[in-house]
């Protein structure tokens, strides 16, 4: 089996994935062809081999996770049809983007895949897995992609994904000199009949024609580009309005929660707050934060908001956890992995990476990028995918701050801790330890 995807579709998937702070998924639309290759060998006159060619034309991104399946992995046919609508018949596969995880299908993905195969009626449905991984200092990132054919036997499940491109439009093919020839006959014939190809200016007619085709195509590209640009602006405006409304709602909720708390305190002024009581409002606000954030569209900074500075980041994490949890709007200030990087100077990394400049790669897991197997490298990331907001680990240089988070969580009542523990992003450390970070619901 051979598979291909256009560079533009591939980049588009990367773009949508980069915009999401959790896993990202969607459907692959295209067509599957059978190509026959005839080969002649000594033993057979001709043997025809059928090659299945999977061509991905475009993708249909899902706006959020769990849009067509639930937590148990059961696919909802109605939602599926709502997402796909009339593109139902063009689906040839689906894809998933996750960060810091192994390149294997998770159990949930496998059961979803089985159901999709049945519901969509595509016997050889493919699954494209994108996994994203970074160095500890975030200077280098890798996006790995594998195409699976899970409905096939256990072996040969992976298919090479080819990205067609300009490749060999070599300009070396122009000839700068003619083959030496003194034959008068040759010169005469080619001059007489070759003249057909040229117009009165000595320019080849073909060139004028193809140039017209190119010009018309480029004009159309510009026109459609203009339409897309307008569309993007409209979408942006709606997104801003939706974000503003969400903020207003969040503010109102916060205000009413505070009022309730003040009322309660006013009614019981004598009692000293005990740890359990103190954590009560915390628990409700925590739960409301959790409910607020999953599984709807993750809250994100508006386009005009600047990512927090590194100084802000460090001071936030130094403060205790409690104040930052009470107001949902301050959640926007918690570090978002994509928006914030670690300081540029080499920090004393406990992970044992050598941050000093060296011509040879300092990342043990990328090898030398020339296709050497990654199996030899220590990738012991736990295969757990986090379907809630899975985040890239930020501030890798100081993992002790995450330990603080974990100890804070441990003090809360068990109910809260279990809610938080639902999603635990697995941390990849090059030295092989899969340290589990306390979940950070932002």
């Amino acid at each position: 089996m051979a598979a291909s995807i256009s560079g533009y579709t591939f980049s588009s998937v990367c773009y949508h994935s980069a915009n999401s702070n959790s896993d990202h998924e969607g459907f692959l639309l295209g067509e599957v062809r059978q190509e026959e290759t005839v080969s002649i060998s000594d033993t057979q006159i001709s043997s025809a081999e059928l090659l299945q060619v999977v061509e991905v034309h475009n993708h249909e991104p899902c706006a959020q996770l769990f849009s067509f399946y639930d937590y148990a992995g059961k696919v909802n046919d109605e939602n599926l049809n709502r997402i796909l609508k009339d593109r139902h018949k063009n689906v040839i596969g689906w894809y998933r983007f996750r960060r810091n995880t192994q390149q294997q299908m998770s159990f949930r993905e496998q059961i979803i895949h089985k159901q999709l195969t049945q519901l969509l009626g595509v016997p050889d449905l493919v699954f494209l897995l994108f996994s994203f991984i970074s160095t500890a200092n975030n200077s280098t990132h890798a996006l790995e992609y594998v195409l699976f054919r899970p409905n096939r036997s256990r072996y040969n499940q992976r298919v090479t994904l080819h990205i067609p491109n300009l490749g060999t439009t070599s300009q070396q093919e122009y000839k700068v000199s003619s083959v030496p020839n003194t034959s008068l006959n040759y010169a005469k014939v080619i001059k007489e009949h070759g003249a057909e190809f040229f117009d009165k200016d000595g320019v080849m007619k073909d060139i004028r024609t193809i140039f017209q085709v190119y010009g018309a195509l480029q004009d159309r590209v510009q026109a459609v580009c203009g339409e897309v640009e307008q569309n993007e602006r409209v979408k942006e405006k709606f997104q801003e309005e939706v974000n503003k409304l969400k903020q207003q709602i969040a503010l109102r909720k916060q205000k009413s929660a505070e009022e309730e708390r003040r009322l309660q305190e006013a009614q019981n002024p004598e009692q000293r707050p005990t740890p359990e009581e103190n954590s009560e409002p915390l628990e409700t606000s925590l739960l409301s934060r959790v409910v607020f954030h999953t599984p709807s569209t993750p809250e994100r900074l508006g386009p005009s908001a600047n990512p927090p500075s590194y100084a802000d980041l460090l001071s936030l994490q130094d403060d205790s956890l409690l104040p930052s949890l009470s107001s949902p709007t301050s959640a926007a200030l918690l570090p978002r992995p994509q928006a914030v990087g670690s300081p540029g100077h080499p920090s004393p990394s406990p992970l044992g990476l050598n941050p000093s400049p060296a011509p040879s790669p300092s990342m043990p897991y990328l090898g030398n990028g020339d296709g050497s197997s990654s199996d030899s490298l220590d990738r012991q990331a736990a295969g757990q995918e986090d379907d809630d907001e899975e985040e890239e680990e930020d501030d890798d240089d100081d993992s002790s701050e995450y330990e603080n988070l974990v100890s804070e969580v441990a003090q809360l009542p068990p109910v809260t801790a279990s809610v938080l523990a639902q999603g635990r992003p697995a941390a990849l450390s090059p030295d092989g330890d899969a340290s589990v970070l306390g979940s950070q619901t932002s």
Binding site: Y15, H141, A142, L143, V159, L217, V224
Partner: protein, 261 residues
């Protein structure tokens, strides 16, 4: 250090990826446009696709003319649209089939740019990498600057953290940069052909051959680049139409929720 980190807007990242994936036979390059804030973070808002000035596969260098005209474009057109002063803050190029780390030439080139602007950063996109054993494809990107090594006058690379920052919609400038690619490719082909065409000692058969090569190359560009580009743009339109409808519904729902509170 002059730069603490680089924040690359996701729509600029999209254009870089488009460009890097457009050919596996040679290195492509471009310039990064943006601004540097008071925390020494370089924000890249868009990129400009450049023509290769050196057709050698393993070298990418930007000519002074390209740099100057890009700077002008950054000043007028881009600053105009965003309302903030923008300038050339770095360069990017691709490493098809090769490791993402900059070569010695790259590090030297970067050092040269840093002489005129300390905050100039270099980005490299490595693509068309495949691990035959696991059938895994890879795309990598890295950010670096150059420093003088302690010993001798050689330059060394230093790693700069880079993050792709979400940008929900594709900016106008990025879209325009993306659709420049077919035009640039056609321009390059025309220039090469013009030089060949001016050779007068060629016999008609050779001229027909060359003309056909031009036609063939242009056809290749149209199908591999323009066609795919158009398909992607149409898909964007389709996806946006759906998103807009969903956003409208969500806006109504939220407005109602706010009214009842």
């Amino acid at each position: 250090m002059a730069v603490s980190a680089v924040h690359l807007e996701s729509d600029a990242f999209l254009v870089c990826m488009n460009h890097a994936l457009s050919t596996e036979k040679e290195e492509v390059m471009g310039l990064c446009i943006g601004e540097v804030d008071t925390n020494r973070i370089v924000h890249i808002h868009s990129v400009i696709i450049l023509r290769g000035s050196d057709k050698r596969k393993d070298r990418v260098e930007i000519s002074p003319e390209q740099l100057s005209s890009a700077a002008t474009e950054a000043d007028y057109r881009l600053a105009d649209m965003t309302g903030r002063p923008m300038r050339v803050v770095g360069w990017y190029h691709s490493h098809p089939h090769i490791t993402v780390w900059p070569s010695h030439v790259d590090v030297r080139t970067q050092a040269m740019y840093q002489m005129m602007d300390q905050g100039f950063v270099g980005l490299i996109f490595s693509c068309f990498i495949e691990d035959k054993n696991t059938k895994t494809g890879r795309v990598l990107y890295t950010c670096f600057q150059s420093v003088q090594a302690q010993k001798g006058s050689e330059y060394e690379r230093i790693e700069i953290p880079i993050h792709v920052v979400p940008h929900e919609a594709i900016g106008k400038v990025c879209l325009e940069s993306a659709v420049e690619l077919p035009r640039i490719l056609c321009q390059e082909e025309q220039d090469t052909y013009r030089k060949i065409h001016s050779l007068t000692h060629l016999d008609p058969i050779t001229k027909i051959h060359n003309g056909s090569v031009f036609t063939k190359n242009l056809c290749s560009q149209m199908s591999a680049v323009s066609g795919s580009l158009l398909q992607w743009l149409e898909d964007c339109l389709e996806q946006n139409r759906k998103s807009i409808i969903e956003l409208q519904l969500e806006k109504e729902r939220l407005t109602q929720e706010l009214a009842t509170m």
